[in-house]
C-alpha cells in the first residue's frame, strides 16, 4: 500500500499496461465500425463464445473476492465479505442498479465489521 497522491515516481509497468490495454481496446471498438462494408456481421464462430464472456469473466472476478475457502465450512460461510456479498447480490438482482448494490454491500460490510463481529 504505497503511493497514492504522494507517489511521485510512475511505474513504467503501469504505463505499459495502460498503453497496451488502451490500444487493444480501441482496436476492439473500431473493428467492425471500420470493417463494415467488407464484412456484414460477426462470424458465428466468434459470436457464440463472446456471449459467455461477460458472465464467466465477471463471476471469476467477483467470487474469489467474496469467498475464501476456510479451514471449516462454517469459517468459509461466516466470512464478512461473503455475507455482505450475498446482501449486495440480492439487491443487484432486485434492482439491477449499480449504486444500490454498492450501498447495500458496503453498508452490510460495515455493519458486520464494526457492529456485529466487532
Amino acid at each position: 500500500m504505497t503511493g497514492g497522491l504522494g507517489a511521485v515516481v510512475s511505474d513504467p509497468r503501469v504505463w505499459a499496461a495502460i498503453l497496451v490495454i488502451g490500444t487493444l481496446t480501441y482496436g476492439i471498438r473500431l473493428s467492425f465500425i471500420h470493417l463494415f462494408g467488407r464484412i456484414d456481421e460477426v462470424p458465428a464462430r466468434v459470436r457464440r463464445p463472446l456471449r459467455y464472456v461477460p458472465p464467466a469473466v465477471l463471476a471469476a472476478l467477483v467470487l474469489p473476492d467474496l469467498v475464501t475457502v476456510g479451514p471449516s465450512v462454517a469459517a468459509t460461510l461466516l466470512d464478512e465479505r461473503l455475507l455482505a456479498g450475498v446482501v449486495a447480490g440480492a439487491v443487484a438482482w432486485r434492482t439491477e442498479n449499480v449504486f444500490a448494490t454498492i450501498a447495500a454491500g458496503m453498508g452490510a460490510l460495515w455493519l458486520l465489521r464494526f457492529v456485529v463481529l466487532a
Binding site: L5, I18, R47, A56, V62
Partner: protein, 232 residues
C-alpha cells in the same frame, strides 16, 4: 421537429445528453470506485487519469488495477482487461451499419467513445426514431459519459487517498462487478457460465500469476457453450 442552425446546442445532441442523464446514477459511483481502487493499488493520479482516458472502459480498468495492485505479470493484466472488453466487438458490429456513411475519420472518433451505455441508448434510439442525426445523438450520450467518467475518477483518487483502510472501500470493486454480473446471467447458458466461471476461479485462486481468473473464465465460457448445445 424544429431545427435551426442558430441553436447553440443541436437538438439531437441535446437529446443524447438528456437520455443518458439517468444512467449517470450508475456511472458516478462506478467512476469513484475506479479512482479509489487506483489510489489504493498504488497508482499515481496521473496513472489513474491516464488509465481512464486511454482505456475508458470501467470493468477492465478495475480488473487491471486489481491485478497491478497484486503485482500480477503484465501479460496477465493485459490479457484479463482485453478479454473483458471483447464484448465491445459485438457492439462495434451492431452499430457499424448506422455509421457506415460517415467519413473514416469520423468513424474512428466515434469508435473511441463506444461503451455499453452509449451503445445501448443509441441503438434503441436509431430503431425508434429515424430522423435523428446519428452521430449527434451518439456524441451527446457518449461524450457526456466520458466527461462524467473522467471527473469521477479524479474525485475517487482524491477521496480514496483520505479514507482509512479499515473502511474497506475497495470492497466496492467486487460489488460493481456483482452489479454487472447479475443482469448478464439472463438465461440458462449464461447462468451456468457465471456459476462455473466463479466456482472454478475460487478453487483455482491459489494458482500462481493470478491465472485462476483466466482459468475460471475459460471454464465458464466452455460451460455456457456446452449448456447451449445440450439445451437445443
Amino acid at each position: 421537429m424544429t431545427r435551426t442552425d442558430g441553436d447553440v446546442i443541436h437538438e439531437d445532441l441535446a437529446a443524447g445528453v438528456r437520455d443518458v442523464t439517468p444512467l449517470m446514477l450508475g456511472i458516478v459511483p462506478f467512476a469513484l470506485v475506479a479512482g479509489i481502487a487506483a489510489v489504493d493499488a498504488g497508482l499515481t493520479l496521473a496513472e489513474a487519469v491516464g488509465l481512464s482516458v486511454i482505456v475508458f472502459a470501467g470493468a477492465s480498468q478495475l480488473a487491471a488495477i486489481d491485478l497491478l495492485g497484486s503485482n500480477a505479470p503484465l501479460a496477465v493484466v493485459i490479457g484479463t482487461a482485453v478479454v473483458i472488453n471483447l464484448r465491445m466487438m459485438m457492439y462495434s458490429a451492431s452499430i457499424a451499419p448506422y455509421f457506415a456513411d460517415y467519413a473514416r475519420r469520423t468513424r474512428a472518433g466515434l469508435a473511441y467513445l463506444l461503451t455499453d451505455q452509449a451503445y445501448a441508448l443509441s441503438i434503441a434510439e436509431y430503431e425508434r426514431n429515424d430522423d435523428r442525426s446519428r452521430w449527434r445523438y451518439y456524441l451527446g450520450a457518449a461524450a457526456s459519459l466520458w466527461v462524467v467518467w473522467q471527473i469521477g475518477t479524479v474525485v475517487g483518487v482524491v477521496v480514496g487517498a483520505g479514507v482509512p483502510d479499515a473502511w474497506g472501500l475497495t470492497f466496492a470493486v467486487p460489488l460493481v462487478f456483482l452489479a454487472l454480473l447479475v443482469p448478464a446471467m439472463k438465461d440458462r447458458p449464461t447462468t451456468v457460465a457465471g456459476a462455473v466461471g466463479g466456482s472454478v476461479a475460487v478453487v483455482a485462486a491459489g494458482l500462481p500469476l493470478n491465472l485462476g481468473l483466466l482459468v475460471g473464465a475459460l471454464f465458464g465460457i466452455a460451460a455456457g457453450m456446452v449448456t447451449e448445445v445440450t439445451a437445443s
